[in-house]
């Protein structure tokens, strides 16, 4: 696992909620992570990941999604959830990241 830290994988966890955390994924990949806030869901919308009125109080939220990009910014792995119960599995993501060409 520690070799992934050398590759400098960057994890960006994005949600409209500034308090959301992605520590489990970061710990599994021993990678650098940052929590970004997409407060008005503009980026979420641009990515086609808006779940309109999907929140507990009817607010707009994001569809749980994991995207792996290579160093050229190209999408190499993609998982969109079709249920709110699904969260990205860190083991699946780690496997996809290790599969990227150096």
């Amino acid at each position: 696992m520690t070799e992934l830290g050398d590759e400098g994988i960057q994890i960006l966890a994005i949600s409209p909620d500034p308090n959301e955390k992605s520590q489990e994924l970061a710990r599994k990949l021993h990678a650098r992570y940052r929590f970004l806030t997409d407060r008005d869901l503009a980026v979420t919308r641009r990515y086609g990941l808006l779940h309109a009125h999907g929140g507990h109080r009817g607010q707009d939220v994001a569809r749980p999604t994991t995207v792996v990009l290579d160093r050229r910014g190209v999408i190499r792995w993609l998982r969109l959830a079709d249920s709110i119960q699904i969260r990205p599995d860190p083991a699946d993501v780690a496997r996809a990241v290790r599969g990227l060409a150096p």
Binding site: Q10, Y47, R71
Partner: protein, 130 residues
């Protein structure tokens, strides 16, 4: 009351399914397979159903009623309430991800393009307000 052990077993299976899902919600293998609690409720229903078939006494009927209610509620939640409606695809494997700039926890602006040629990036979109 020992003769009603199937009713008790049915009840325990239902309660164990609920407790197990809640307790292990943070474990991906459990969380990402919500069908497991439906299977448990179905098993509880079968146990109580078989017991009721043999003796329609109130403990058996009560256990059957409870497991059926849980199965229906769980099924409604899993197949209806929890569903995210399909949406037009924007992201495609093999295509570049749209660039963006968003603030991090300290307020600093982070641009996706800044990682190009430097590092692979994993984007994790969360619902928020979980």
């Amino acid at each position: 009351m020992i003769r009603y052990w199937p009713a008790l077993l049915s009840l325990l299976v239902s309660l164990a399914a609920i407790a197990g899902y809640v307790v292990f919600l943070r474990v991906p293998a459990i969380r990402n397979h919500p069908g497991l609690y439906l299977i448990a409720f179905a098993v509880a229903t079968l146990i109580a159903g078989a017991a009721t078939w043999r003796a329609a006494r109130w403990p058996n009927v009560a256990a059957l009623a409870l497991s059926v209610v849980l199965l229906l509620l769980g099924g409604y939640f899993n197949f209806v309430l929890a569903r995210i409606p399909p949406a037009p695809t924007v992201l495609r494997v093999g295509e570049p991800a749209p660039d963006f700039t968003l603030p991090d926890a300290s307020g600093a602006a982070v641009s996706l393009a800044s990682f190009r040629e430097r590092a692979p990036v994993v984007l994790v979109f969360y619902r928020g307000y979980w």
